[in-house]
C-alpha cells in the first residue's frame, strides 16, 4: 500500500456528547483502514485515552495521546454569523495538543488539572495564556478545525488576525511544534479558511497537516452525533437547526480518500506520518509511582513494617494462648514479609495501615475485605478481622511473586460521614494533587437511552415514562427482553418510521459514555504529583476530586488504588455499639461475639430480614437447607448463593451432602484435607489453588497463575501450557486419567466464578454480627438500620413490619418526642420500643426539624399547633401540614385526630401580625369548632405511606383479611401448614421482584402480609402472559401449587391478579430490589 495517512485529530464519545464512537470503535475502524497509528484528542481531557491505548495495543496500532484544550485566551470558537439564525452558545476556542514525550504528557495532565481545579465546582473550565505557556514543553500544537482558534480568528478578523494567532502559538510552542491544520468536510465555508491557513503556513514557513477532525468512526454514526448534539443542548432534533452537523463527513477516512482530498496541498497528508513518527510517547510510559511511607530516620520501610507486624502478631495471637498457632503465625508473617520486601510493596501496606490507624483513632469502624483477608500481615496490622492462620487461608491468593501487579486491599467503612472523614484524611495526607477518587463513567443503558434519545426525537414525557418503566432492568434477559419488545409493550408501533428510528438509535447509543461520575470509594494515591499521571478535576461533591479514568483504566495502566468503600452495615454495627450500652446496659465487643444457638436458630429458619448478606430471597430459600450451626457454615452460606457456585452446579451437591442425602466423596483421596470443610465440593478459589498444589505439585504462585489463566477467557495459550503442566504433575502423582479429567473439569468450570474464601469469611463475620445484634438487641438493631437507610435488600416499611412481628413496639413520629433520627424509648413495663424519627417525614427539612428538637429541649413540650408555629418559625406551612397529616401533632393539646391538626395548622401557618396577635379577642377562634371528620383507615394508610413511606399501624393486608378469608386466600403463615403439592391462593404486597441470571428466566416475587413473607415463582410463560401484572402491580393475588422443600415454601404461580386499592397503591412505591430513601412512619393508633 503506497498511500499512507495517520489520523491525528479525532475525538471519541469520551468528549461527552461531542463524539459518537467508543475509543475501541475508532481503533477497530483504524485497523480496517490499515492505519498504523492514530491520535485521540478528547475535549479537555484524556478520558478515553486509557481505553484507546489498551485497544490499540491489542490491535498493533500506535496510540498517540493528546487533548483538545479550551483556551479562553484565544477568544470564542467559530460560530455562525450573527445574521444567520442559530443557537450556538459561546464557547472558548479549543487548541488540539499532542504529546511528544513523557514530559509533554505530564505537562498536558498538569495543564488540564490546573484549569479544571481552578474552578470551584465541576465544569469544563478553560486554560489561560499563562497556563499554556507554563506547560508547553513536550507538546505539539495543531491549529485546529472549526473548534480551533485559527478558524475563529480568520472569520472574525481576516487573514491578518489568523496570522497573529498562529504567530502566538509559535511563540508558545516553538516553530518546530506548531502545525497548521487543514480539514475538508465538503463544506463551502471551510475551504476559504483552508486557503487562508495554507497561505499563512507558507508565509510563516510552517508545515501544513491534513486531518479530518474525526467525531465518529463511520459516516453512519453521524446520526448518533446529531442526537448527542441535541441532548447536549437540551433541545430536540426538530428544533436543533444549525447546531446539527451539515453532513456526515467527520468520520475516520482512508489514506486513499485523504490523498485524493488533499491532492492540491502537497505534503499535507505525508506530514501526518512524519509527525506521528515524532510522537514517541505512549501511555505505557506513565512514570507512576506509589507513594512511599515516611518512616523515622534510620528505618527502612521494610524494617518499619516488620516491627509493626511483629507488634500486631503479639496483639492478635497473644491473647489466644495457643503457642502452636502463634508459632505458625510468626512463620507465616515471615514468609509474607519476605515476599512483600522482594516485591517492594512495604509502602503500600504501611499506607493502608496508616489509614486504618487513623480510623481507629477517630472511632471509625473499619474492616478489610476481599483477598487481603488471606494475609497474616493484614491481620496483624488490623487491616482485616479474619485470622488467616487459624482458618488456614491461602496467602498466595492475595499476593504472588509472578503476578506482577499490585495487591488489592478493599476497606469497608460506615457510609456517609465517617467514610468521608477517612477520604478527607487521605486528601489531606497526600495533598490535593497527590490523591483523588477514581472516576465512574456513566454510560447509556436501556432506560437512560430510551429517555434521552426519545426526548431528542421529540417524544413527550408521558410516552417516555410509559416506555422507560417497561425497559427491562432484570438481571436475566430472555429472548423477548429486547428493547424492541419493550417498545411494543409500551404501545409503540414499530412500523412507524420515527419509532423504528427511535428504537434503532436507542440500541446504537447503548454503552456510550454520557458523563463522568465518581467511583464510590476507589482512591488513587501517587508519589509526587498525581496530576502528572492523569488529569484531576472537581467532582460534583464538594471537597472531592476525581481522576479522568475509571478503575479498570487505572488497573490496565498499573495505577494502584485503595478502595474505601461505604458499607451501610458497618454504620449499623457502629450505631449498635453505642445504643446497646446506653439502653441495655450491656457492653458489646464485635471481635468477641459468642456463638449463640438462638442466633443460629433464626438463621436456620431464614428469619433474616435486615441481616447482612443473608437477607435476600435466594439466601432465605437456601438457609433452611444449609441449616448453619457454626461460623464456618455461614462462610459457606455467604459464598454459595452466588452466580459462580450456582452456575458451576456446586450449590445443590453441597446442600444434598449437608442434608446427608448424598455421601461425601472426593475427586481423589489426596484432596480430602483440601475439600473436607466444604464436604468434597470445591467452593472457594483458595481450594482451587490448593487442589493444583496438592495433585500436581504446583507452587502457590503457579496455582494462582492457573486460576487467573482460567479466569481470563482470552488466555487460551497460557491455559494450555498450564493444563499440560497440571496433567504432568497429576500423572507424576499417580492420578488416573479419569480422575485427572474430573479435576480439570472442576477447576475450569469453577475458576470462572469462584469466590475467595477470605472474602466470604470477612463478610460472614459481619453477617453473624448483624444476626446476633438483631436477635439479641432488636430495638437497637432496628433503630440503627432505620437510621442508615438506604441499605440492604428491603425498604424501611418491610423492616418495620418485620420488627413488629418480632415483638418490637414501633411508635409513630411525634413532634413532642421524636428526634431527627429514630430513637429507643423505655416503656413503663421496662421494655424498649422504637420511636420513628422526624427524618422519616418525607419533605421535612433537616434544619427546621432540628430546630423543633432544640426548642423542645429548651422550653419544654409544645402546647398547641399555634405554639409550635410560633416557637419554630423555620417550619413552613407545607411542613406543618405534613406533620399534621402523618399524625405527628396528635399529642398537642386540643388535637384529637389528624384532621383536627390539619384544621389548626392551616390557621397557625397564617398568623396575623405580632401586634394584633396578642390582643385581639375577636381574632380568637372558638377552639371547640373542629369541624373536620376523622380520617378513615384507608385515608390514614394513604397519609402514612405518602408522608413517611411506611406505617407503624396494622399492615394494609390486615384490613382486607376478612374479605380474603371468605375467598379462601391464605396468609403467609397459613401457607406453612399446607402440604407440598397443594393448590393454594394467597395475596400480599410485593416487596421484591427478581429475575436472577441463573434462574433461566424464572421470576421470584416476595410478598409480605401482616403475618410474614411468602415467596412466589413465576414461570417465563406466565410472565409473558402477565408481564404488566408482574412488573407493575404492587399488591398481588396468586394462585398455584405450593412447594414445600425442606421447610422452604414457594408457590409456583398459575394465575396472577392485581389487588386494587388506593391505600395499597401508596405502599411501597418502588418494591423492586433496593431501597427508597427517607421513607418514614405514620400512626394509626393515635387517630
Amino acid at each position: 500500500m503506497t498511500e499512507r495517512y495517520i489520523e491525528l485529530h479525532s475525538t471519541s464519545a469520551f468528549s461527552f456528547l461531542e463524539g459518537a464512537s467508543q475509543p475501541e470503535g475508532l481503533i477497530e475502524r483504524a485497523v480496517e483502514l490499515e492505519m498504523p497509528a492514530m491520535a485521540l484528542l478528547d475535549r479537555n481531557g484524556v478520558y478515553g485515552s486509557a481505553r484507546f491505548h489498551t485497544s490499540a495495543k491489542r490491535n498493533g496500532v500506535h496510540a498517540h495521546v493528546g487533548a483538545e484544550i479550551a483556551a479562553s485566551c484565544f477568544g470564542n470558537r467559530l460560530m455562525p454569523p450573527a445574521w444567520l439564525p442559530h443557537q450556538h452558545p459561546l464557547e472558548p476556542a479549543r487548541l488540539p495538543l499532542l504529546c511528544e514525550s513523557r514530559v509533554g504528557y505530564q505537562n498536558l495532565c498538569q495543564l488540564i488539572t490546573r484549569f479544571k481545579m481552578r474552578e470551584k465546582v465541576k465544569c469544563e473550565g478553560a486554560a489561560t495564556f499563562d497556563d499554556l505557556q507554563k506547560y508547553s514543553a513536550g507538546l505539539v500544537c495543531l491549529t485546529g478545525g472549526d473548534e480551533g482558534p485559527l478558524s475563529a480568528a480568520l472569520v472574525s478578523g481576516g487573514e491578518e488576525a489568523g496570522r497573529e494567532v498562529v504567530e502566538r502559538l509559535v511563540r508558545i510552542y516553538g516553530r518546530d511544534s506548531v502545525y497548521v491544520e487543514v480539514q475538508r468536510h465538503r463544506e463551502r465555508e471551510e475551504e476559504w479558511s483552508n486557503q487562508a491557513a495554507i497561505r499563512i503556513a507558507q508565509s510563516l514557513k510552517l508545515p501544513v497537516l491534513a486531518t479530518n477532525g474525526v467525531r465518529c468512526a463511520t459516516a453512519y454514526d453521524r446520526e448518533v452525533l446529531d442526537v448527542f448534539t441535541a441532548i447536549r443542548h437540551h433541545i430536540d432534533l426538530d428544533h436543533a437547526g444549525r447546531l446539527l452537523a451539515l453532513n456526515n463527513r467527520r468520520h475516520l477516512r482512508s489514506a486513499r480518500e485523504m490523498m485524493a482530498l488533499f491532492r492540491d496541498v502537497p505534503g499535507a497528508v505525508e506530514q501526518t506520518l512524519e509527525l506521528s513518527a515524532r510522537l514517541r510517547f505512549q501511555l505505557d510510559d506513565l512514570g507512576y509511582e506509589f507513594p512511599r511511607y515516611p518512616v523515622p530516620d534510620g528505618e527502612a520501610m521494610d524494617s518499619f513494617l516488620r516491627k509493626r507486624v511483629a507488634e500486631g502478631v503479639m496483639r492478635r495471637y497473644g491473647p489466644k494462648n495457643d503457642p502452636a498457632l502463634l508459632q505458625r503465625a510468626k512463620k507465616q508473617v515471615d514468609h509474607e514479609l519476605d515476599l512483600i520486601a522482594r516485591l517492594g510493596f512495604a509502602g503500600y501496606f504501611l499506607i493502608v495501615w496508616d489509614i486504618v490507624c487513623f480510623c481507629k483513632k477517630n472511632d471509625i469502624l473499619i474492616q478489610g475485605r476481599g483477598s487481603a483477608a488471606n494475609s497474616a500481615v493484614c491481620y496483624a496490622l488490623e487491616i482485616t478481622a479474619i485470622d488467616p492462620v487459624g482458618m488456614e487461608l491461602l496467602f498466595e491468593r492475595f499476593l504472588s511473586e509472578s503476578r506482577g501487579e499490585w495487591p488489592d486491599i478493599d476497606l469497608d467503612l460506615p457510609s456517609e460521614d465517617k467514610r468521608e472523614q477517612a477520604i478527607q484524611y487521605v486528601y489531606q495526607r497526600y495533598g490535593e494533587l497527590g490523591a483523588a477518587m477514581t472516576a465512574n463513567v456513566i454510560s447509556y443503558r436501556g432506560k437512560s437511552a430510551a429517555r434521552e434519545v426519545g426526548k431528542a426525537l421529540g417524544f413527550d414525557q408521558k410516552s417516555l415514562g410509559r416506555l422507560s418503566s417497561l425497559v427491562s432492568q432484570w438481571e436475566w434477559r430472555g429472548k423477548t427482553d429486547t428493547m424492541a419488545h419493550s417498545f411494543q409493550n409500551a404501545g409503540f408501533d414499530l412500523k412507524h418510521p420515527r419509532i423504528a428510528k427511535y428504537l434503532e438509535l436507542c440500541m446504537r447509543v447503548q454503552d456510550l459514555p454520557r458523563h463522568l461520575g465518581q467511583h464510590s470509594g476507589g482512591m488513587v494515591i501517587c508519589q509526587g504529583q498525581l496530576d502528572c499521571v492523569v488529569p484531576l478535576e472537581r467532582a460534583s461533591m464538594p471537597g472531592r476530586t476525581v481522576v479522568q479514568w475509571d478503575k479498570e483504566d487505572c488497573a490496565d495502566l498499573g495505577i494502584i488504588k485503595v478502595d474505601l468503600l461505604g458499607l451501610g452495615m458497618m454504620a449499623v454495627l457502629k450505631d449498635c455499639l453505642e445504643l446497646i450500652p446506653r439502653h441495655y446496659g450491656e457492653s458489646i465487643d464485635l471481635a468477641q461475639l459468642p456463638e449463640d444457638e438462638e442466633v443460629y436458630k433464626a438463621l436456620q429458619l431464614a428469619d433474616t430480614v435486615g441481616m447482612f448478606q443473608v437477607e435476600s430471597r435466594a439466601q432465605m430459600a437456601s438457609l433452611p437447607r444449609n441449616h448453619p450451626t457454626r461460623f464456618y457454615d455461614l462462610v459457606v452460606q455467604v459464598a454459595i448463593i452466588r452466580p459462580g457456585p450456582i452456575v458451576g452446579k456446586m450449590m445443590h451437591p453441597y446442600m444434598r451432602r449437608r442434608q446427608k442425602k448424598e455421601p461425601v466423596t472426593y475427586p481423589h483421596p489426596s484432596l480430602e484435607p483440601v475439600l473436607k470443610r466444604t464436604l468434597g465440593v470445591p467452593l472457594f478459589q483458595e481450594q482451587l489453588l490448593r487442589i493444583a498444589m496438592t495433585v500436581a505439585n504446583f507452587s502457590g504462585a503457579e496455582a494462582e497463575e492457573l486460576r487467573r489463566a482460567v479466569g481470563m477467557r482470552r488466555s487460551w495459550e497460557r491455559m494450555k501450557n498450564l493444563e499440560g503442566k497440571l496433567r504432568t504433575g497429576m500423572t507424576a502423582n499417580g492420578i488416573d486419567l479419569a480422575t485427572q479429567e474430573n479435576i480439570i473439569q472442576n477447576i475450569s468450570s469453577f475458576a470462572l466464578y469462584g469466590f475467595p474464601e477470605s472474602h466470604a469469611a470477612s463478610f460472614a463475620l459481619i453477617a453473624y454480627a448483624s444476626a446476633y445484634l438483631k436477635v439479641k438487641y432488636l430495638a437497637a438493631f432496628t433503630c440503627a438500620i432505620l437510621n442508615n437507610q438506604p441499605m440492604g435488600f428491603y425498604m424501611p416499611a418491610v423492616l418495620v413490619k418485620d420488627a413488629q412481628r418480632h415483638g418490637l413496639r414501633v411508635r409513630p413520629i411525634d413532634i413532642q418526642v421524636s428526634d431527627w433520627a429514630c430513637t429507643i424509648e423505655h416503656e413503663a413495663d421496662g421494655s424498649l420500643s422504637l420511636r420513628m424519627g422526624l427524618g422519616y417525614a418525607k419533605g421535612l427539612r433537616r434544619q427546621p426539624a432540628e430546630a423543633v428538637v432544640a426548642d423542645r429541649w429548651q422550653d419544654g413540650p409544645f402546647r398547641s399547633a399555634e405554639d409550635l408555629a410560633l416557637r419554630v418559625p423555620l417550619l413552613n406551612r407545607k411542613e406543618l401540614t405534613l406533620l399534621a397529616r402523618i399524625g405527628a401533632l396528635n399529642n398537642l393539646d386540643g388535637i384529637a385526630h389528624r384532621r383536627d391538626a390539619l384544621w389548626q395548622v392551616e390557621r397557625a401557618g397564617k398568623l396575623e401580625g405580632p401586634l394584633l396577635r396578642q390582643s385581639c379577642d375577636w381574632l380568637q377562634e372558638d377552639s371547640d369548632a373542629l369541624p373536620l371528620a376523622q380520617m378513615n383507615t384507608e385515608e390514614r394508610l394513604i397519609a402514612d405511606y405518602a408522608g413517611t413511606g411506611l406505617t407503624v399501624g396494622k399492615h394494609p393486608m390486615h384490613y382486607r383479611r376478612q374479605g380474603l378469608q371468605s375467598r379462601n386466600v391464605l396468609s403467609a403463615v397459613e401457607l406453612h401448614r399446607c402440604r407440598d403439592g397443594q393448590y393454594v391462593k394467597t395475596a400480599g404486597c410485593v416487596i421484591a421482584r427478581q429475575r436472577p441470571g441463573t434462574a433461566k428466566g424464572f421470576i421470584f416475587i416476595s410478598m409480605e402480609d401482616e403475618t410474614g413473607i411468602a415467596n412466589v415463582i413465576v414461570t417465563p410463560d406466565l410472565y409473558e402472559r402477565e408481564r404488566l401484572t408482574v412488573v407493575r402491580s404492587k399488591f398481588l393475588s396468586v394462585e398455584g401449587i405450593l412447594q414445600n422443600q425442606d421447610g422452604v415454601i414457594h408457590i409456583k404461580a398459575t394465575r396472577l391478579t392485581a389487588l386494587e386499592s388506593d391505600a395499597m397503591e401508596m405502599y411501597a412505591c418502588n418494591p423492586t430490589v433496593g431501597n427508597v430513601r427517607n421513607t418514614g412512619p405514620g400512626m394509626l393508633n393515635s387517630a
Binding site: E187, D238, R242, L246, N247, F492, P497, R899, W903
Partner: protein
Amino acid sequence: MSGYPIDDAGDLYACLYAKEFPAQSALRLRPELRERAVIILEGDPPLETACSFNAKARHLGVARGMTRVELDTFSSLIVLPRSRMEELSAHAAMLECACGFSPRVEDCSNGDAFLCVIDIAGTEKLFGPPPVLVRELLHRAQILGVSASAAIAGNFHAAICLARGSTARIAPMAPGKEDEALAPLPLKVLDISSEHTETFALWGIRTLGALAALPEKELIGRLGQEGRRLRQLARGELPHHFVPYEAAFALEERMELDSPVEQLESLLFVLGVMLEQLILRAAARVLALASVTTALTLEGGSVHLRTVRPALPTNERQLWIKLLHLDLEAHPPQAAVVALTLTAEPGNTSKVQLGLFSPQLPEPMRLDVTLARIRAIVGDEYVGSPVLRDTRKPDSFKLEPFQVPSTRSSTLRTVGPLAAMRQLRPPERVSVALRYRQPASFVFRDCRYEVEHAYGPWLAEGDWWQRESWAVEQWDLIARSGAPSGDCTMLCCCLVRDLKDASWKMVMLYD
C-alpha cells in the same frame, strides 16, 4: 308555578352545558365520523397537542396534552386540527338556541366547553314549566348536533355547578333547595385553585355539602375571602350580577342588483355607496373599519369572496375604494355579479405616534396600497419579509408580515470585495454529463457547456430522522459554451444535485 317556586329574588336560571366542545363542533359537521375515535389537535406543527376528543377516543386511552408523535402510537384514531371558525359557528348556533327561550342569556363558555346560563324567570307561560323548557332546550341543541346537559336552579352559580356536576343529561332539580341538590356534587365543579384543592383533599372535604358545612368565620381565617366565596358557591348562595349576551355589532350591507353587472367600474360605484354606509355606522361608535369582506353573488349562484385588511383600521373612503379596486382587479369575478354583500370588522381608529427622530416611513395607508398592488401581481403568499429559518437546508426561509423594526440594526458589517451572483428562483433543470463522478458538460437554456473547472462538491444533508430527509451536492463550475457560430461564452455557475432523486438544477449564476 307548578311546584317551581322561584327564589326570594324571583330568580330562576337554566344552564346549558356542552363539554368537549372543540370535538363536538368538529363532529357536528362530520356526522360520518361520530362512530369513530376522533381527537382534535391544537398548536403549530410539529408541536401540536390533543385538546379535545370524543368518548370513543377516551376509551382508547387518549388524554389531553398528548403530542402528535405520541398519538401516532395509537392506531384507528381520526385526528382533526382545531378549527376556531367551526367552534365559533357552533358556539353562535348554541347561543342562538339559548336565546330562543329568553332574551337574557349570559355566555360563560371557556375554551373547552360551551356553557351559558339563561334567565328563565317568568317564561312558564310561554314554554311551560321549567322541566319542559329544559327538555326542549336540549332537544334543540341535539338538532344542532351538539350533545349537552342542563340544570335549573334559583341561583346562577348553582345552575352552573349542577349542570357541570351532574352525570344525567338533565340535573335533578330541586329549586329552592339548591344546597341539598349541590351537596353531593364533587368539588371539581367549582374550579378551585390547585392549592385549595390540595387543602380540601387533606381536610377530607370532597363534596360541596361538606364544604358548605364548614364554619364561615374559621374558613375565612384559613382561606381568606376566597374561602367565603367557595362556601357561598357550595351553598348555592353566591349572588351574581347577570351580564346578558348581546348580539355583536355587525357591519353588513347587502344589495341585489337589477341586472347583472360585469364591469368593475359600475360595481365600484355601488360598493362606494355601501362603504359609505358602513363607515358612517362605524364612525358613529367611534370605530373604524379594520377589514372589509366583499361577497359577490355571481350568475349561476356561486359566490366570489374577497377580504381586504389594511395595516391599520381606517374610515377613509377613498382609500378603501382603492384597496377594493386593486383587490378585485387582481382577483376578478369569473361571471357577472347579481348581488353583493359587504361586511366589515370594526377596529379602533388608528393613531400612530411618530417620534421626532424616528426615520421617515411611508405613510401607512400608502404602504397598504403599494402592498396591495404587489400582492395583486405576485400573489398573497409571496408578500412579506423573508426570514431565514434555523436549519441547514439550503434556501430555507419563511415569509413574515412586514413590520416596522423597533430597533435599528446596530451592527454594520464591513463588506469586503464579494462575488456578485444571481440566484435563479425557481432553479432551472439542467442535464449534466459526468466524468469521474464530476460534471463534465451540461445543457443549460438550450446551450451546451463544457466544464473547464469544477469546485466541490459541497455536501449538505439533514432531517435524517424525518420522512422528508434531504441531501444535496453543490458544484461551482466554470464552463464554456461551444456555440456552432464559433462564439464562445463563459459561464460561472452553481449546479446542485438532489441526491434523493439524482436531479440536477442550476441555482446560481456568478457575475
